[in-house]
């Protein structure tokens, strides 16, 4: 009968389901968080699995998500583009360390201007995004670009509509170079922008910029490079004009004083050094100090140690910037000092 046949097919479906549910469970460690380093973590995970068979599953649900999940202990480690302050770390019992670096690059859409031809500096960028500079041929911009013909065109600032580490780094820089920005807008993964329109993701910002004459936006370095966007050079703290490339990012990191930063809380924007790119940033990993699952924690640390040692070339191929060697040593020392198993013994020992 009709109904009996239907019941039989539901039961059959449930039986199939049951067999699916008993699928193979792989040796897996998991992490979640920042979107910025996702491609390079995925690359490392693939190579690591080929080498050791351990699946390291990282998903980019956003820095806020990463912090939430590591606090809820639903993942083995969290990742955040925005470092947590030492007080917050202590409150949650977490340790953080920088893993990989990159930069944020201003991109423009001006006819006749080639990539790298336009030169700006921090205060001017802040004024543009505050809405104080209305046209491209404003004297403030012309002063930085002698010999370049700037059109009489309205400036259209573009920003990231979704909360992101890129916005955090960018607004951090603007807050450092412009007291008015710091006062009016501030520094966070998501802010109240005085002017402009918001695009979703790097893709959205790039799309909006390329279609709006006179637009200026900011994207991750990898993005600007892969899509051959028209980037602008910046005048850094020392007064020299630098182009965004991995040398400039590493200069910013090398000149930073990590040893004096408790909890590695250090923002790489506006760093000293004549080659330093002013809008550099690092992405951080978060783990609990007291580990209830020491085997999983050891696997996580083994993975990151392997990445520090073998992952640099892969990172650079994807336009990311590896940490300098001295910082790596500091990080690994902090693992031994802080991450303990239930018997209060360190899980990680340096080779």
């Amino acid at each position: 009968m009709q109904s009996r046949g239907r019941i039989r097919s539901w039961l059959g479906a449930l039986a199939v389901l049951g067999s699916i549910a008993h699928g193979a469970a792989a040796a897996e460690i998991s992490g979640a968080g920042a979107t910025f380093p996702y491609p390079v973590y995925a690359k490392w995970a693939e190579a690591y699995k080929a080498k050791t068979g351990v699946s390291m599953n990282y998903q980019s649900i956003g820095s806020g998500g990463g912090i939430k999940q590591i606090n809820a202990k639903t993942v083995d480690f969290g990742a955040s583009d925005m470092p947590l302050k030492p007080e917050d770390l202590d409150k949650s019992g977490l340790i953080q360390w920088p893993m990989i670096m990159g930069g944020v690059v201003p991109v423009v859409n001006l006819q006749g201007i080639a990539p790298g031809e336009l030169q700006l500096d921090g205060p001017t960028l802040a004024d543009i995004y505050l809405g104080k500079l209305a046209k491209w041929n404003d004297p403030a911009i012309a002063k930085l670009n002698p010999g370049v013909k700037l059109p009489n065109l309205a400036i259209a600032p573009i920003y990231r509509s979704d909360g992101s580490g890129t916005t955090f780094i960018y607004t951090n820089y603007l807050a450092k170079v412009s007291p008015e920005w710091k006062d009016k807008v501030g520094n966070d993964t998501s802010v109240e922008w005085p002017v402009g329109i918001g695009g979703k993701g790097n893709e959205g910002v790039a799309a909006l910029s390329s279609r709006t004459a006179g637009a200026i936006g900011y994207v991750e370095y990898a993005y600007a490079l892969q899509n051959k966007l028209i980037y602008a050079k910046l005048k850094n703290r020392e007064g020299s004009i630098v182009a965004p490339d991995s040398k400039a990012f590493q200069a910013a990191a090398a000149n930073a004083d990590w040893a004096k930063a408790p909890g590695f809380y250090l923002l790489l924007t506006d760093q000293p050094g004549k080659d330093s790119w002013p809008i550099t940033g690092a992405s951080f990993i978060l783990m609990h100090k007291k580990q209830e699952k020491p085997e999983a924690a050891k696997q996580v640390l083994d993975f990151f140690a392997w990445a520090f040692q073998n992952g640099n070339k892969m990172a650079e191929a994807l336009d990311y910037v590896p940490l300098p060697e001295n910082v790596v040593k500091l990080v690994e020392a902090s693992w031994s000092a802080n991450i303990k198993n239930p018997d209060n013994k360190p899980i990680w020992t340096a080779r």
Partner: protein, 280 residues
């Protein structure tokens, strides 16, 4: 103008607008399909279905994401459809008997418009936090919660529209009420209920937000329902918005797979049930 001429003119206007509306609908469809095909065909290859999602720069496919989406969509449909049909049945058959029906109907309609991310968060609190990890079960539950209101609404609608004469004839023949519903009403309303189920499947096949905090995603091949599982919409979301050309091609390929699989499913379902809706 004579009355006749005016009626004819109005009729002509109506008909023209109907044709135009269909034309617009089909034009939009073809525009979108054209974009899908143009960008997605380069991704079509056996590799798409046999290798797992790669990091940028490596060769790969969408096998784990396709598997995950198929499994989670299937579980969600198998769980959500019976619940939705039975609830819709209660609303249609016993709706006038108590206060329960109007309240369920109202709440159901409110949930129809729930942003899917909220449903995902609810299941996160309910299952993921309690279980201590992400899982494909949680993802399936979140999708099932999206299926239920759609199926309830369409089931109730279609059952109420079955002509009273059919119902009365069955009762006159001495059939018990449950048999009237199961053998007569369901069969009469089948095409409409099927539309509801198909619309629900089409909706959950393309949803990212509810899976974000439940099934998460998985870079590797996994058939474990108790662990994070890859799914197509999230992979498409991630890859399409990345700067890497090989990832973008895969994203479009994935979008094509979703769209045409639903199309095939729809056609199959219509063919399988086409005999049962002949009007007397």
């Amino acid at each position: 103008m004579t009355l006749y001429a005016r009626r004819r003119a109005i009729n002509l206007a109506y008909l023209a607008l109907s044709w135009a509306a269909t034309g617009v609908g089909l034009a939009v469809l073809f525009l979108i399909l054209w974009t899908l095909l143009r960008n997605g065909i380069p991704a079509l290859s056996p590799e798409l279905f046999t290798t797992v999602t790669p990091p940028p720069g490596s060769r790969g496919g969408l096998a784990n994401a396709i598997y995950g989406s198929v499994v989670m969509t299937a579980v969600a449909t198998l769980v959500g459809t019976p619940i939705g049909i039975l609830t819709g049945t209660y609303l249609a058959e016993y709706g006038r008997e108590s206060w329960l029906a109007p309240v369920v109907r109202f709440v159901n309609d409110i949930l129809l418009s729930a942003p899917s991310i909220i449903i995902g968060l609810f299941v996160y609190e309910l299952m993921v936090v309690r279980m201590g990890h992400f899982s494909a079960w949680a993802g399936s539950v979140a999708l099932a919660i999206i299926v239920i209101p759609v199926v309830v609404r369409t089931t109730e609608n279609m059952m109420l529209l079955v002509p009273a004469s059919l119902r009365e004839a069955a009762i006159a023949l001495g059939a018990p009420r449950w048999k009237v519903v199961v053998d007569v009403i369901y069969r009469a309303a089948l095409q409409g209920m099927l539309t509801g189920v198909m619309l629900a499947i089409a909706r959950i096949a393309g949803e990212t937000a509810p899976l974000l905090f439940t099934a998460l995603n998985n870079q590797f091949w996994s058939t474990d329902m108790n662990a994070p599982m890859a799914n197509l919409p999230y992979v498409i979301f991630q890859f399409a918005l990345s700067p890497y050309a090989d990832w973008q091609v895969l994203a479009w390929g994935g979008a094509m797979v979703i769209t045409f699989t639903i199309l095939a499913l729809n056609i199959l379902a219509r063919i399988l049930t086409s005999g049962s809706d002949r009007n007397p």
